[in-house]
Symmetry: C3
Subunit: 209 residues, 3 copies
């Protein structure tokens, strides 16, 4: 046993697969965002399926932890990474749910454009994460990854605040503003979740160094 | 000294007592939810008292940690469990405060029924937690507990989103919608707190396995 | 090397400097809160600068961790402290941004007075934190600090709920209520962040005891 076990995927394989699901997830989220209303439920269903796949990978990792005598990092660190990846996916899923639930259409500019800028940031975060998870074996080498994610989170933050400001200036009815504000905020939480993941990687690097 | 110490309650006794307070707390929350306005302040006062009892148990556990040479789990894990239990109670208390503070009455259906469905989920979470804390000695055996709490959290999530959707369809004035949305959201946070607690137990099981 | 290293500030020096920035930050926040609109952007710029200084101190500490063979506490604990201090500053910064972004003026009493009471609590939290960080070498001696921060957080909580209640009674338009509610809530999150920091100190004391 242990992490060299030939049986099944390694811890790094499982974390990488979770990250790959995030790339698929954010792509579905973007499609959902601009999809006509009658297609949204089907897209949300697919997003739920991706989220379930992520959950299963998370639990596979926990089970592997239970069966392994030797682990590449501390057990808690591996489960922290898996649950940080899971948090990102849960928030994509929540964003997708709100888009279907609130049925907000013809979002006026610049709000619509700013929302998709938030999704752009999330797409970059997901891709960067998927590129770097396979290199986790040497967390100290991932410095560029966590620095870039922190930079992206700052961009996301700016987009978020700009969106809020313009949202209040739209003169839309208060209830629509409340709904759009929820969507803006869940997208912001997604970026924060990617930052939390990057910070987890950074703190593992600190420990392992 | 150590966890076999005959002086006073064991760590498991203290965590179990905290969980028992949660069962009393959620019960008060339900009563408060459906109580006539003139009875609410008295009920909130009792909820505050329960919350204080929970705090005291939390601090007793921390003090016991300070006095114990041997602990059944890592010190941090025991304090994490105590504060996770405390978080659940703080959110019950917050929910109770909002119910009194916002004085929202005659909540229209289906919102009223959906809110009490959220409280049903919380009641199940609290009872399940209280049943399982005494078995903490062997966290690996609590798999059914954390799986069920995660399932309940998903139910709570569905109830939460359904409530939001219907809330926006009520045609209530925006300010009432904002208030009710706060209440729906704090109840959702309570379910999340029970999930966090269950995840803490799961990660201890992983470590101890 | 190690924490007796004569090269550069010690871990405790760095954490203390981060705390000192919080005192400057909360002071700017108060000035910003009562400043005429045309001065706010300049004040926010200064608040951003303070936030950047905090970030740099945070990263200095992480780098020092990477270079130190011996650390006064576990590596994770030191990085947890640094990031808890950073969270407080990020929330000050966010509060400042909202004050500029939302351009809410002539806030009616008692809301205006209650908002500055929330800032009073934050000022006390920041000062108390800055006074106590230099004593971190013996975390067990900081009991009064974390007890007092928890007490202040309870005061903040009361102020927060009272503010919400009165906010809804102002009869302001819903959009202004949403904006002010955001500001009230970010100030409440700041107090929570100071409590999280104090709890981190407490849990280190528990471990080190």
């Amino acid at each position: 046993m242990g992490f060299n076990s030939s049986k099944g995927p390694s811890f790094f394989d499982l974390l990488t697969s979770q990250a790959d699901q995030l790339v698929i997830g954010v792509d579905l989220l973007r499609t959902l965002f601009s999809a006509p209303e009658d297609e949204r439920k089907a897209l949300r269903k697919r997003l739920h399926e991706i989220e379930n796949t992520g959950d299963e990978l998370n639990h596979q990792l926990i089970n592997k932890l239970n069966q392994s005598f030797i682990t590449p990092f501390d057990r808690e660190d591996l489960s922290d990474l898996a649950s940080a990846l899971d948090d990102c996916m849960d928030l994509f899923d929540e964003a997708g749910d709100l888009l279907v639930l609130y049925q907000v259409d013809n979002i006026p500019e610049p709000v619509d454009g700013l929302l998709s800028r938030q999704i752009d940031v999330l797409t970059k975060c997901a891709k960067l994460t998927a590129e770097n998870m396979p290199k986790l074996k040497r967390p100290q080498d991932l410095r560029d990854y966590w620095v870039e994610i922190n930079r992206l989170e700052n961009d996301g933050d700016k987009a978020y605040r700009k969106t809020l400001k313009h949202l209040f200036d739209t003169g839309l009815d208060p209830v629509t503003i409340i709904k759009l504000k929820d969507i803006v905020e869940v997208l912001e939480k997604c970026t924060d979740a990617f930052e939390d993941l990057a910070n987890t990687v950074e703190s593992i690097a600190v420990k392992e160094s």
